[in-house]
């Protein structure tokens, strides 16, 4: 059975891009969220196998959403996907339990590699 993925990004275009990459490679995109608040709601509702999470978003940012999701399910698999690739941000995310950190702009291969590794 193909893995269920939740895509979180405030830009509809970026969600479309990631969804396109994942759908073409056999993943099942079960939901999308446009901010951290929505991400936590959708996580509860859909219980995805993996979440791709933007960081800079309105309402609640991706790091805060990651922490909330980890409270709901400590085994949750979340991959951060942000243009803010600075070390402090990466360390923050990894310490909060993120599986990987993809810096935008990204190549499709990098996204697939991170997801396959996290699910593996």
């Amino acid at each position: 059975m193909s893995a269920k993925i939740l895509i979180v990004d405030d830009a509809a275009f970026m969600r479309m891009m990631i969804k396109d990459i994942l759908s073409k490679n056999g993943f099942d995109v079960v939901g999308e969220a446009a901010n951290g608040e929505e991400a936590v709601e959708k996580y509860k509702e859909l219980s995805p196998d993996l979440v791709t999470m933007d960081i800079t978003m309105p309402e609640k940012d991706g790091i805060a959403a990651l922490k909330d999701i980890k409270k709901i399910n400590p085994a949750a698999k979340v991959i951060m996907c942000s243009a803010m690739g600075q070390q402090a941000m990466v360390i923050d995310a990894i310490q909060a339990g993120a599986k990987d950190f993809i810096v935008k702009p990204f190549q499709a291969d990098r996204v697939l590699e991170a997801i396959n590794k996290a699910l593996g």
């Binding site: 970026m14 978003m57 942000s82 600075q86 935008k104």
Partner: protein
């Protein structure tokens, strides 16, 4: 003739916002390496503005700011500004040089700002180019410290030639170390990207969203 700016859909505005997030996010990363301090970024704003309102948005024509300006050429054309308040600029110089700046900027201080401008605009444009697959050639960035009206006027002239409205793409960054003291009241630094009106179509085509409606 149709106005390229009025026809832009909400979905396309969202694309422009993401372009700005990616460009400024990469620039913030470069700046944080340079300063060895975390740099925060706000969600970008994309605003269709009347020509005259752009300078007002930046803080008024007579507001003294340090501005790094460059023209983008290549597959698309546009102007880019990195604008910071002079007090913030002095803080940046002090961080880099470890010496206090006097009322007037020193030659070395000026050079620090120039280099910061080069690094920031370079990383912004590299990210934008990687994202879109477009060839983007920056002109040599020029640094000036003057009233916002004088500095932005030149860059805005290109846009004024082809219409009354421009789309201002604004990303605000702030250096965490400065937050308690200065950045908050002065609003930090801003990246402004102003694509020339006829560049939007090429930009959207490059990203495959030229026909995306808003509804």
């Amino acid at each position: 003739m149709s106005d390229p700016i009025r026809n832009i859909t909400d979905f396309q505005l969202d694309v422009l916002r993401e372009i700005s997030n990616i460009g400024a996010g990469n620039a913030a990363t470069a700046l944080s390496k340079l300063l060895n301090n975390p740099v925060d970024m706000k969600v970008s704003r994309v605003l269709p503005l009347h020509f005259n309102d752009i300078i007002e948005y930046v803080g008024g024509a007579e507001n003294i700011v340090a501005t790094v300006f460059l023209r983008i050429q290549g597959d698309i054309a546009g102007s880019m500004f990195f604008v910071i308040n002079t007090e913030v600029a002095k803080r940046l110089i002090e961080d880099m040089l470890g010496t206090l700046e006097a009322d007037d900027f020193s030659e070395m201080g000026f050079s620090v700002l120039q280099e910061i401008g080069n690094i920031l605009s370079g990383s912004y444009l590299t990210a934008l180019s990687d994202f879109t697959g477009l060839d983007l050639q920056p002109s040599v960035p020029s640094l000036a410290i003057d009233m916002a009206g004088a500095l932005l006027g030149d860059g805005l002239m290109e846009i004024g030639r082809s219409g009354d409205y421009a789309i201002l793409i604004d990303a605000e960054i702030s250096i965490r170390k400065l937050v308690q003291q200065i950045i908050v009241q002065n609003g930090g630094g801003h990246f402004f990207l102003l694509p020339d009106p006829d560049s939007f179509e090429k930009l959207f085509t490059a990203l495959g969203v030229q026909n995306h409606g808003s509804s």
